[in-house]
């Protein structure tokens, strides 16, 4: 076999590499995708043993109590306090979760903004005016919109509640994932009486999310190695679109192979822990504390805390 003639046809390029003033652009899409995959990777990496501060079942119950409290809460102040407390806790535990939480609060408002933003307007949430924006176009007034579009205090309250709830919930989840290895959580699910079928689905989802995250960042590296120039936004979107298909396809294949490997080694849906865990007093305390905080959250608004 003989290589094509165009390989090595010219003399090797040995001169100094040229420079220019043009920056290679990293597109918004690319940055966002990388951010998400990085977040997933971090969250799904097996937390080291020393970080397992609570017994997995206790950790899961405590998180559940907090999540219920958060989703029932109507108090902005209480939610904000809990969010701050969770961030402080992550910092105190020294889990390197600061960055994760920073991401949570950087990313969550972005995502929930799309849903939350319309809620601040008097169109969806009537109430006392905070800021007047623009006069509503006549045809909208005709179909019943208020004559002036404005931001209402109650609207801000509703949107704030939404963002705070989502943010606090994600913080709880991040804290849980950061302190308890995912497979431990899965075995805790089983121990708490969740049917095996659900645990299996959760395990597969987890594995899928993990390979997805790894695939995205690996492929990005391969792309960096071969990318010569910035493509225009339209080509970029087309590229990302077709690549997403490949990523999904590949991570599904990997996840399935991993599952087969697990079956080959006798996996039947239970994660048998190598280091059996014991429930200690502090686990009980933590669960009780979490239930207390959850109850306070749920009843704060009724007790008159805004």
């Amino acid at each position: 076999m003989s290589l094509p003639t165009w390989i090595g046809a010219g003399p090797p390029r040995t001169g100094p590499l040229p420079t220019s003033k043009v920056r290679l652009r990293t597109s918004f899409v690319e940055k966002t995708l990388l951010g998400i995959s990085d977040f997933l990777r971090r969250g799904l990496e097996e937390a080291p043993e020393r970080a397992a501060i609570l017994e997995p079942r206790a950790a899961l119950l405590a998180a559940l109590a907090l999540l219920v409290g958060i989703s029932l809460s109507h108090s902005l102040v209480a939610l904000a306090l809990v969010a701050v407390a969770l961030a402080a806790l992550a910092g105190l535990l020294g889990l390197g979760l600061g960055r994760t939480l920073w991401r949570v609060w950087g990313v969550v408002p972005l995502f929930s903004a799309a849903i939350a933003l319309p809620a601040v307007l008097n169109v969806s949430t009537p109430g006392p005016t905070l800021v007047e924006l623009v006069a509503t176009p006549a045809w909208l007034v005709r179909i019943g919109w208020p004559p002036v579009l404005s931001v209402t205090t109650s609207g801000v309250g509703v949107a704030g509640l939404l963002v705070l709830r989502v943010g606090a919930s994600v913080s709880v989840a991040a804290l849980l994932a950061g302190t308890t290895p995912p497979t431990r959580l899965l075995s805790a699910l089983g121990a708490l009486g969740i049917p095996r079928a659900f645990v299996l689905v959760a395990a597969l989802t987890l594995r899928y999310a993990r390979t997805l995250a790894f695939t995205v960042s690996d492929m990005h590296l391969a792309l960096l190695s071969r990318r010569v120039r910035t493509v225009d936004a339209k080509a970029e979107r087309a590229f990302v679109g077709s690549r997403m298909g490949v990523v999904l396809q590949r991570s599904r294949a990997t996840a399935e192979e991993v599952h087969m490997a697990m079956l080959a080694r006798g996996f039947r849906g239970d994660y048998v822990p190598l280091f059996p865990t014991r429930v200690r007093p502090r686990d009980v305390l933590a669960v009780l504390a979490a239930i207390g905080v959850g109850a306070l959250l749920a009843s704060a608004a009724r007790a008159g805390i805004p």
Binding site: S225, V246, Q249
Partner: protein
């Protein structure tokens, strides 16, 4: 005339994290047209070094120059610099799965030429020519993740060659190839050398190193550069090879007296053939395309 310097690596260290060293104070140079083997045991830092040379990782300490200019984050985000650097340097990843990211094999091989501004027709012609050459023509429209391990590796190699790079960084190029493909790869490497390409090959396989390279860098398990010399020098220093753990002390019993002698993985003369024994046989097989693979002397470049 002295040859141009391609890479100049100075006191290079890299850590993946606080307790995760991968390279320690490594310094060396690579000249234009050289073939250099990067030898070392699993985990000694070969892949990391290639990723650093490709600008995919940034040194924790030390510096890397490519054609006289240091590889920095700044320069890598300069469109002209990055463009020319990527045009000249191509990395064959150790894991071919990582490397192939296009929906079809053909698109993957054509990706590079398209990036470099080739017309779609040209890019396609190049890609098809390479696929044909590597016996992959039938797979052109397949999804890369559905290929076999060895097929993926050959597609990845075709993708690298499609842009006609001056420098090939190859991470374990022989792994996962069947004997016939290994021999073909040796031939391809030979031709690339003849056409003046600079080649860096990471491998822990001393047999292949001997076959393709003139020069070898040996990394220790402590991630330092143990020795930088000709392949003959490096491969004949059994003490160093043992230290780097690329050969192992194989104990035999001879009439009750126990003594050990160093044994090379993949060495031609060993009695203890591992997988490479298979490769050796293939090498001796007369081939139907008229080329006789046997007895080809190792062809050090330059």
């Amino acid at each position: 005339m002295s040859r141009a310097k391609v890479f100049h690596v100075e006191h290079l260290s890299f850590d993946y994290g606080p307790d995760l060293p991968a390279l320690r104070d490594v310094s060396f140079e690579v000249l234009d047209g050289e073939t250099v083997c990067l030898l070392g045991a699993n985990g000694c830092g070969k892949s990391t070094l290639l990723r650093l040379l490709d600008g995919l990782l940034a040194p924790t300490a030390g510096r890397i120059e490519a054609w006289g200019s240091e590889i920095t984050k700044e320069r890598l985000s300069d469109e002209a610099w990055n463009g020319e650097f990527r045009r000249r340097v191509s990395l064959l990843f150790q894991d071919a799965d990582v490397q192939l990211f296009c929906p079809t094999v053909l698109e993957d091989v054509a990706f590079g030429p398209l990036q470099l501004g080739a017309s779609p027709a040209d890019a396609r012609a190049r890609a098809e020519e390479l696929l044909e050459l590597f016996g992959l023509a039938k797979l052109a429209m397949r999804v890369p993740s559905t290929l076999s391990g060895g097929q993926k590796r050959r597609v990845a190699l075709a993708s690298c060659l499609a842009t006609d790079p001056d420098v090939l960084l190859m991470d374990e190029p022989f792994a996962a190839l069947d004997p016939r493909s290994q021999v073909e790869l040796l031939e391809v490497l030979q031709q690339l050398q003849d056409r003046g390409k600079t080649i860096l090959i990471a491998t822990h396989d001393l047999g292949f190193a001997e076959e393709v390279a003139a020069r070898a860098l040996l990394l220790s398990e402590e991630h330092t550069l143990l020795v930088d010399g000709t392949v003959e020098e490096v491969l004949s220093d059994e003490r160093l090879l043992l230290q780097a753990n690329v050969i192992h002390e194989h104990s035999h019993r001879h009439g009750g007296i126990r003594h050990s002698h160093p044994h090379r993985h993949g060495a031609r003369h060993g009695t203890h053939h591992h997988t490479h024994g298979v490769q050796d046989h293939a090498h001796e097989e007369p081939r139907d395309d008229g080329h006789c693979g046997s007895g080809r002397p190792p062809c050090p470049s330059g």
